[in-house]
Symmetry: C2
Subunit: 144 residues, 2 copies
DNA sequence: TTAATTTCGGATATAATTATCCTTTATTAC
DNA sequence: GTAATAAAGGATAATTATATCCGAAATTAA
């Protein structure tokens, strides 16, 4: 459904948010261990998240990654997904036809439209905050 | 959503079905031209479909691919998707966590479960026949 | 039997994704 | 200022998905 990059990004963001809420910065090593992702690859993901202004970072000792509360409240999951996977997930034809749309639908068109719009809505209507709220009951689930 | 292989497979099956209903076999060249797919790659897809007993084939002049009416009526889209993409589409955690399930859910778990089950149901509850019925009004949509 | 047509199957090539390695830059503490 | 820590960024490697090529096998028609 999502690319590995996107999955790692979402998990990283959730972990960073959890730690930021406790006033803690986290470094690359801690993140990749916590979310069970390859460390060097995760570094690239975090760079992307940082460049796209989802998370913040500071270099040097006591440095690491963190996220501002305003971002936590404002940023939807769709924003993160967009950065890594674009909009291919909920845009385009289920059969891969480039000229398929409502006016000229392939046989699967309308069946897909509803499912995709639900997925889109889910990602657009849930902020990072919404997810982290659900996390508090169980802190173990980020490990793979 | 689906892999290229899976998309080509679904489109091939639809075209073959359409032609089989008119009593015609179709060869590789015709299929790849009709559905707009790379010819040699499509050959591999058709081999897979044939080995998995979705479609039939005969070699030699006047040979080609066709599909039995019983298959058209019985085979669900999920069967084709399963062959090429396995069940990764509607199974497993949205965040890629291996130990995520209803008993130990990640934050996205229940939000994904419903969307995925809809997708699963859509693929399981629609036979090739169902799709081809929708095709008759417009024969052009398979071209990409 | 020969030639033409068509699928089958193995080997290989290309592209995209995932992943690693290493050097540079910034920051902190001493 | 030196050493340690940590992110940033460039180069490269490994893996998977996508795609091509070519010869073999089967079938048909003449």
């Amino acid at each position: 459904m999502f690319s590995k990059s996107c999955e790692y990004a979402l998990r990283s963001v959730l972990f960073i948010t959890q730690q930021s809420e406790m006033g803690k910065k986290v470094n690359l090593t801690a993140i990749s261990e916590e979310i069970g992702s390859p460390i060097a690859f995760t570094a690239k993901i975090l760079q992307q998240l940082s460049k796209n202004d989802i998370i913040q970072s500071t270099k040097g000792p006591k440095g690491g990654f963190y996220i501002e509360q305003s971002k936590v409240e404002e940023i939807a999951l769709s924003t993160v997904v967009q950065i890594f996977d674009g909009n291919k997930l909920y845009v385009g034809c289920g059969l891969g036809l480039s000229n398929c749309d409502a006016a000229n639908p392939c046989p699967l068109h309308f069946k897909f439209v509803e499912i995709r719009s639900q997925l889109k809505n889910m990602l657009e209507n849930n902020t990072i905050q919404n997810l982290v709220e659900d996390m508090h009951s169980d802190l173990l689930w980020l490990k793979r």
